[in-house]
Symmetry: none
Subunit: 201 residues, 4 copies
């Protein structure tokens, strides 16, 4: 990579990292572009060379961070010996919840801003360079499974929404119970949801 390009990447990364730090500590609404560039050590105009506005950098961050979480979960899943799709999914959900539980500001950032639209665009349709293509991953899981399911996309949608919606308040505020207390019920519910869409052999 030429020196100029290296420098460009360095500035862009500085902006992304700084923005993430500020978004997770102060919140997006209270973070100004002036804040970001000041902490990143670049000029205000430089921000606009790489991002169109605050929400552009936010979306790119969400995509990237969400991808990282899934990538870690998938990587660790390879090392396990798991036999059924149900168990695979529970493993993934558990792994993701553990990551979020130990990084609450990340959960706060992602959950407050994640919508199915951004999620799908980021992880499924247009994963950024180097980011995991979630669609490939779950397609592969469903194909390798012995059991077949009525509508895998809806199934995944329901599980993703169910998990993210119920975990948010439990992890961050222990409401209505802690995440550890919630997990058994949540996992059992997920298994039931999966089974309810199972096709007969």
């Amino acid at each position: 990579m030429r020196k100029v390009d290296e420098n460009k990447q360095k500035k862009k990364d500085a902006l992304l990292n700084t923005a993430f730090d500020l978004f997770t500590t102060k919140g997006i609404a209270k973070t100004s572009i002036a804040d970001i560039v000041e902490h990143a050590g670049v000029a205000k105009g430089t921000f606009y060379l790489y991002f169109s506005d605050k929400y552009d950098i936010r979306n790119k961050l969400i995509a990237h961070k969400a991808s990282q979480i899934f990538q870690k979960a998938l990587d660790d899943m390879q090392k396990e010996e798991i036999s059924t799709l149900e168990d695979y999914i529970i493993f993934l959900v558990d792994h993701v919840l553990n990551q979020l539980n130990s990084n609450k500001s990340l959960l706060n950032f992602i959950s407050k801003n994640l919508s199915w639209g951004i999620f799908k665009n980021a992880l499924i349709s247009n994963p950024a360079e180097n980011d995991v293509d979630f669609f490939d991953s779950y397609t592969e899981l469903f194909e390798k499974s012995e059991k077949k399911y009525q509508n895998p996309e809806i199934l995944v949608y329901m599980i993703v929404e169910f998990v993210s919606a119920t975990s948010y308040s439990a992890i961050l505020y222990n409401e209505p119970v802690t995440i550890e207390e919630l997990k058994p019920f949540m996992f059992e519910s997920i298994r039931q949801i999966i089974r309810s869409m199972e096709l007969p052999d």
Copy 2:
């Protein structure tokens, strides 16, 4: 009610109604207090006599609107002949979804701003005057049910979160499928979740 008090209530109502209209059409971020008071026909200072800021009026609106929705659903439920808790819940969920489906700006407003904390505070712990106490309602349902359940609060929490999370994108953007296509899977999943927490007789 004395004339002055009537007048006070009239101003407060004007502010609430105007704020709701603007929040649902322009969004909260793009609605200024200047907007609200101008359309409501009161002076700027008057706003601060009744609400502390934009987010105060928002929370009060959410509580009230969410309460109205439940009230309607509960009222209509009385007229039906339903025998099991499962069927009661499905009826309520379906009723609420139908209301939201025919009032998408309301869904957008509530969902973008509803968190379990606000929800609980609004409907369960501190219902505003005249608003329905959701806690009483569901406690009664569970008590009258023949079947008993492990942890009714968690069960309600999971269902509420599951429904609100999965319906949002389906109703507003038909993603990943329309709400009508989603309903059979959603309802079946809810039944499974309920059954998974059923206690043996």
Copy 3:
């Protein structure tokens, strides 16, 4: 006038006067709203209570200043004994040119910004409160004149444009000659223009 209203007028006048000073010394392009409010001793937001932007205050100033010039010329004309329309017009033009010649920054400000549209709107169709209605004035002149003319509006238009266009560079830069050298030719030309539109008795 109530005290608040007095105060309002005082702020508005301060803004108008300050803007005029800055526009004539630095030019409009180089005058920022920050400049104006700072010198006027009011807050930035106050500017926007009275004017929508820099060009709004400019137009209001032009209208007002142009009106003042005509008012003075008309006032002095009353004191003279003049018999023909031709002589009235030459008197007015001469008077206006003398005013502008002794206030070159005013000429610069008005001429750089005056268009027939603004002029007509300001002096003829919508004179601001207290400002002279130029339409009434010239209508009266034409009505009192013994000689009648084909198309008074076009005649006035041509004279106004001719005078303002030819005097600008002569007064400000003595180009191609000084205003005093130009005047005899200009006045004779005006007389000829008037005569060319004269109707036979």
Copy 4:
């Protein structure tokens, strides 16, 4: 011309053409140097190799475009059989007005920016390479005329200013009348102005 020089000229022309297009469509104030270089397909720094700023390129454009208009009018005049200076001038004015009438954005661009100073500098004192020397042209006209005039330069100045001032609003906004309605009065006025400076034989 050497290849490098050709390339230089090509870049300069690209900048001039692009600037003209943008100035006439968006206006000068709303055209940035970034706009110009982007549409011209050259780098930002390159602009500063050929022009000192936006107003430098503007002045060069005005000179060139104004010259083109006169050149066309003069060329066509050669083909006509005209006997008096008065008729020559009317022919030229009419020709120029027709050109501007069919190219209103050009009129808008020139008139908003033309001052006698730029005009004189461009067309009379320092015509750019290949551009017509207007001074030579009108001197020749006056010399060939049988009738002689008191002060040809002032006469030309007055006519130029009169025509440009009165035609602007008529062509662009049909105010106070259309250019076609205005022409008879304008031409008659020009004839009167010319005659008023005629010397006795």
